[in-house]
C-alpha cells in the first residue's frame, strides 16, 4: 500500500482508539450480549436463538453507530480544525487522504467487531457449552456485518467530504434504514408501473442493499449460508464502496477548503 495512505490509515485508527466514546459503545454492545443470556431464559430451547439474534443485532447496531459517529467527522472535522491544511501542504494527494481515512475507520470497525464477537461467542458458550457446526454460520453473519460497516463507512466519508456532520449523519443513517428494506423496495418496484416503476427501480438499486447482508435471523435458526451468497455479497460490498469512495474523491478533489 502507498506509504502515505498507510500512515493516514494508522493515524485514523489511533484517533478512533483514543476516543473514549468508542469504549462506551463497545461496553454497551457487550452488555447487550450478556443481557441476551437473561432474555433467552424466558422460554426453554430458545436460548441459542435469542443469544445469536440479540448479540449479532447489538454488534450490527452499535457498529453502525460507531461507523456513522466517527465517519461523519472524518473529513469535516479536519477541515473545521484546519488539521487538513498541514497534511495537504505536504506531498499527500487528496485521494490518498480519503483512502487513508476509509481504511483507518474500516480497520477500527474490524477490530471492534472482533471484540464484540468475543462477547457474543462467550454468551453462546454460556448457554450451550458445546459449539455446534452450525455456529460457524455466526462467523459468516459477522463477516456480513463487517461488509455493512465498510459500506456505511464509505457513505459517511462521502457525505463528510462536502456536508456538515449533522447532515452527514442524517443522510448516512437514512440510507442505512432504507437499505435495510432494499428487498422490499425492489419488490415494490416490480409491482409498480410506468414512471413509478422506473423511479422505484432506480432507488432500489441505488441504495445499499443491507437486507442481503443481514443473515442474522437465518443464522439464529441454524440455517447455513451459501458460499455463493458470500461471494456475491463480498463483490457487491467492494464494488459499492469503491463507487461511493470514487464519488467522495471526485467531490473532495474539487473542493475549495475555505
Amino acid at each position: 500500500m502507498n506509504s502515505r495512505i498507510w500512515h493516514i490509515t494508522t493515524n485514523t485508527f489511533r484517533e478512533a482508539v483514543r476516543d473514549r466514546v468508542l469504549y462506551n459503545l463497545i461496553a454497551f454492545a457487550l452488555l447487550m450480549s450478556g443481557a441476551a443470556v437473561l432474555v433467552g431464559q424466558i422460554s426453554i430451547g430458545i436460548e441459542r436463538l435469542v443469544v445469536i439474534n440479540l448479540g449479532l443485532t447489538a454488534v450490527s447496531l452499535f457498529g453502525i453507530v460507531i461507523a456513522i459517529f466517527i465517519g461523519i467527522g472524518l473529513v469535516s472535522k479536519e477541515i473545521d480544525k484546519r488539521t487538513l491544511y498541514t497534511v495537504l501542504s505536504r506531498p499527500v494527494r487528496r485521494w490518498e487522504f480519503i483512502a487513508g481515512k476509509f481504511f483507518g475507520l474500516s480497520g477500527t470497525l474490524v477490530v471492534n467487531t472482533s471484540f464484540m464477537a468475543i462477547g457474543v461467542f462467550a454468551a453462546l458458550l454460556y448457554v450451550s457449552p458445546h459449539l455446534q457446526s452450525s455456529d460457524a454460520s455466526v462467523l459468516v453473519a459477522l463477516y456480513f456485518i463487517v461488509l455493512q460497516f465498510v459500506i456505511i463507512t464509505a457513505l459517511a466519508l462521502f457525505f463528510s467530504s462536502f456536508s456538515s456532520p449533522l447532515l452527514s449523519a442524517v443522510f448516512a443513517f437514512s440510507l442505512f434504514v432504507i437499505g435495510s428494506f432494499a428487498e422490499d423496495l425492489r419488490g415494490f418496484a416490480k409491482l409498480a408501473h410506468g414512471f413509478t416503476h422506473w423511479m422505484a427501480t432506480g432507488a432500489a438499486y441505488l441504495v445499499p442493499n443491507f437486507s442481503a447482508l443481514n443473515v442474522i435471523s437465518q443464522v439464529a435458526h441454524g440455517e447455513p449460508v451459501s458460499s455463493q451468497l458470500v461471494l456475491y455479497n463480498t463483490a457487491y460490498a467492494l464494488v459499492y464502496s469503491a463507487a461511493v469512495l470514487a464519488g467522495a474523491v471526485l467531490i473532495f478533489e474539487h473542493r475549495n477548503l475555505k
Partner: protein, 315 residues
C-alpha cells in the same frame, strides 16, 4: 531562480443562495520572492493574505493566474516536499503527543524512518518543546501549539517556509521566540514568506514587504526604502516643563512626559528652537530626525485609490 513567482493569481467566490454574486477575494496578483529572503505579506483582516497562502498551498483553487514555487507547479509533489506551511491559529490532532505529531508529519513528508527520530528530537529541541515531547497536544498552551506548528513546518528541512500570522495571539515572550526562529530560518538559507498585520514584527524581520488591501496589491518594496522617506522634521527633547517663548511662537504642539518636554518641528526651524532653549537656560536632551515608519507607509497605502505598485517602489 526566484523562490516564489506569483503570476496573476486571482480568486473570486460566488456568494448568495438563490442569486449568486461574484465576490472578489483577490485581484490578479503579481509578486516575486527571491531566494533566501524574509518576505512580509501585510494587510488588514480580510485583505486576501490567507486566500493567497491557501492558493499557494493548493487548498483553494485560483480563478485565474498561476504561480510557481522553486520553479515547480503548485500541484507538484516534489515541490510540496520542499515547502513547509503553518496555517493561522493552528489546531493539531490533540490526542497525539508532540513527538507523535511530528513523526506523523515526517512520515507524510517522506522522511526515512531511521532519520526521522533524530530529526524529530532535533526540531523539538530547536523550538523549545523537548521537555513536553511526550505530552498530549490538548494540554499545550497557545504558545506551545504555535511552536509545535513551526516545528512541523521545518521538520523536513524545507527550502521555503510559509507562515500565516505566526505571531497571532502570542504574548511578548512568545512573539520574541517565534521571531528568533524566523531569523534562524533565514540564517539557514531558507526563504520565509509570512503574512501578518503586526507591522512591528514585519519591520524587525523582513527584507521586503508587500501590502495588500481589499484583495489588491498596494505596495511592494524593501523595508528600509519604504521607511527612509524623511519628513523633513525633527523631534527636539529638553529637560523640564517650561516652554520657551520662541517655541510657542512656532505654534507647534509640545508634549510633556515625566520631567521632559518634546516637540516636532520643521527641520529649517531647528536652529531657532535650539537658540530659544539656550536663551532660557534649558538643558537639551536630544535632536532626532523624524522618519516614516512602516506603519505610516502602511496606513498611507490603505487610502482609497492609493497604490505604489505602479509608481515603481520596489527593489
Amino acid at each position: 531562480m526566484a523562490a516564489i513567482e506569483i503570476l496573476g493569481l486571482e480568486k473570486t467566490y460566488s456568494v448568495g443562495f438563490w442569486r449568486k454574486r461574484p465576490k472578489c477575494a483577490l485581484q490578479p496578483l503579481h509578486l516575486t520572492v527571491e531566494d533566501g529572503e524574509i518576505f512580509g505579506f501585510l494587510g488588514p483582516n480580510g485583505a486576501g493574505k490567507t486566500t493567497t497562502l491557501k492558493m499557494l498551498m493548493g487548498l483553494v483553487f485560483p480563478t485565474g493566474g498561476t504561480a510557481r514555487i522553486l520553479g515547480m507547479e503548485l500541484d507538484d509533489p516534489k515541490m510540496k516536499a520542499q515547502i513547509g506551511f503553518l496555517p493561522e491559529q493552528p489546531y493539531f490532532y490533540d490526542y497525539l503527543t508532540a513527538r507523535e505529531l511530528l513523526k506523523y508529519y515526517g512520515q507524510l513528508s517522506g522522511l526515512e524512518a531511521k532519520r526521522l527520530s533524530a530529526r524529530v528530537d532535533a526540531v523539538l529541541t530547536k523550538v523549545g518543546l523537548k521537555d513536553a515531547a511526550d505530552v498530549q497536544l490538548r494540554k499545550f498552551s497557545k504558545g506551545m501549539l504555535q511552536r509545535a506548528g513551526i516545528a512541523q513546518a521545518i521538520l523536513h528541512d524545507p527550502k521555503v517556509v510559509f507562515l500565516d500570522e505566526p505571531m497571532s495571539g502570542l504574548d511578548p515572550m512568545g512573539r520574541r521566540e517565534v521571531r528568533s526562529l524566523i531569523e534562524e530560518m533565514k540564517s539557514e538559507g531558507k526563504t520565509v514568506f509570512f503574512s501578518t498585520h503586526i507591522l512591528s514584527d514585519a519591520e524587525a524581520l523582513c527584507d521586503r514587504v508587500a501590502i495588500i488591501h481589499l484583495g489588491e496589491l498596494r505596495g511592494v518594496g524593501v523595508v528600509a526604502a519604504l521607511t527612509s522617506g524623511v519628513h523633513n522634521s525633527v523631534e527636539v527633547v529638553w529637560q523640564g516643563a517650561a516652554i520657551p517663548s520662541g517655541v510657542k511662537a512656532l505654534g507647534a504642539e509640545c508634549h510633556l512626559a515625566g520631567d521632559t518636554t518634546r516637540v516636532v518641528i520643521p527641520e529649517e526651524k531647528q536652529e531657532d528652537v535650539l537658540d530659544a532653549l539656550r536663551r532660557d537656560g534649558l538643558r537639551l536632551i536630544s535632536v532626532t530626525p523624524v522618519r516614516t515608519s512602516l506603519e505610516d507607509y502602511f496606513v498611507a497605502q490603505l487610502a482609497p485609490g492609493k497604490s505604489d505598485v505602479t509608481s515603481g517602489v520596489s527593489s
